[in-house]
Amino acid sequence: MAVIAIAVFATVYVLLATERVHRVKAALGGAGLLLAAGVVDFEDAFHSPETGVAWEVLFLLVGMMVIVGILRQTGVFEYVAIRAVKRAGGRPFRVLVQLVLITALASAGLDNVTTILLIAPVTLLVCDRIGVPPVPFLIAEVMASNIGGTATLIGDPPNIIIASRGDLTFNDFLVHVTPVVVVLVVALIGLCRVMFRSAFRFDPKRAAELADLDEREAITDRGLLLRASLVLTAVLVGFVLSPAIGYAPAVVALLGAGVLVLASGLGPRDYLADVEAPTLLFFAGLFVMVGALIKVGAIDRLAEWATVATGGSAQTATFVLLGTSAVLSAVIDNIPYVATMAPLVDALSRETGNPDSVLWWALALGADLGGNATVIGASANVVMLGIAERNGHRIGFWQFARYGSIVTLVTVLLCVPYLWLRYFAFA
């Protein structure tokens, strides 16, 4: 059984990495094979908390997708972005700083792909008005999105998997990851100043054209905006109070989505517009496959090996995990990577002690930040590339990697002293 589980898993990983078949087909096909071969049964796949589908992850995603789908229809994102850009006076670097901050902040609360879909059109418009090349701005934003998404439990799907497997709360992420993400965003801005310095040519005449943009027109329905904002705020407060009120984040998100659906008066076509069934099915297939590896003992064996390799030291394991995750996430999708690594880290945690859940933070930081290194490192990168290309701005693999590898290297290196000082030096 172990041989079948590993063979199916490895084959699916190769298919995912080479993109020979659609990722949903690969993940569900692999899960189907493992169920058909009897490696996992119905109980293992759908009911077991150890080896089964992590339903709380799927329903947290569904809830947030519904809320974000409704919120984006209000035009609030365009309003905020254009207002901020106007405040920057059309000075290119200041504009970039505003857009990077908005993107990072939005990504902490929304899915990264959604954030890019919202910010990229505004960026293209603004760059056209102030007469600067949009590519540096788009690259900076997608990197801000990947960094900002690291900050919270809901910011990036790998974090949701990590929280589920590591039994971590929304507040745990706020306390342990958000502070370093703030530093990383500042570092990104500094890097952009240097990397894209030739793009910041200020033309006062062109900058004056920003005044023609009327951001108030972006708001389509003020009533809906108010209701959606209230619900989103309540959901975020619910996440923070989650341990106290006894509602898991998935329940909070689903309740918020339900209330907003009722309050919005929108039809299913509108409120389900952002619910990505392929992503949810991909997750489900992955969970079944990883569950099979757990059931046949492959993950435990790997954890034993990793414990020996790191000498049972949490410190060594933390930095190996951070570096390995960053490198691997640069070339493979970080969702399957984290789905596979989460049970391994869980087992490793028991062996090494895992002070203050540091291994989980190393995994989150490595996997999320590694996505910045190459175009294929994160879904948001691919989406941004597509938008740029459709608008006549082609960004090559190596052009992106040139900037991405620098940003990944610097941000991951910045995490090293943070993790060491906070969890080991003075522990």
Binding site: E78, V122, R390
Partner: protein, 149 residues
């Protein structure tokens, strides 16, 4: 009744003529599109008015309708200004999808209707010996079809 009977005299424009000239012709004569001819005079494409708009309005505005409301009068002028210095060839998709909206003079009403439905074109060019005979427009075709009903 055949395509020849429904065809009306219709203006055409060259591939390398100015895009603005094509847009002006459509606006002036209330045309839904215009026939485009190769330098040797062969009519090969139809340029629908929507394609002119698709070129002038950047994809990022088409993707985010909210931005269309945000852009002021001067912004619209800037967008339309993008047609300056462009040729008709640049407005047309490099690789046309599906069949071209053209038919022969002896084609029946239904054949013309099929071409129009399949190509989503509001007009079909009637071509004989590589020369434009005229065009069948949607209102004229519907008129003829409804008269048979």
């Amino acid at each position: 009744m055949f395509a020849r009977d429904l065809a009306e005299p219709y203006p055409s424009i060259g591939m390398d003529d100015a895009a603005l000239e094509a847009a002006h012709a459509m606006a002036r004569d209330h045309l839904p599109g215009i026939v485009v001819c190769e330098p040797d005079g062969r009519p090969t494409r139809i340029l629908p008015g929507s394609e002119v708009l698709r070129f002038a309005i950047p994809p990022y505005v088409q993707d985010d309708e909210g931005l269309a409301r945000v852009i002021g009068q001067r912004g619209v002028e800037r967008l339309m200004g993008q047609l300056h210095g462009r040729t008709v060839r640049e407005l047309l998709p490099e690789h046309p999808q599906g069949a071209l909206a053209m038919c022969g003079p002896e084609d029946t009403l239904l054949e013309v209707a099929v071409v129009m439905a399949r190509t989503h074109s509001p007009l079909v060019a009637v071509v004989e010996h590589d020369r434009l005979v005229g065009c069948v427009t949607l209102p004229r075709l519907l008129d003829a079809l409804l008269a048979l009903a």
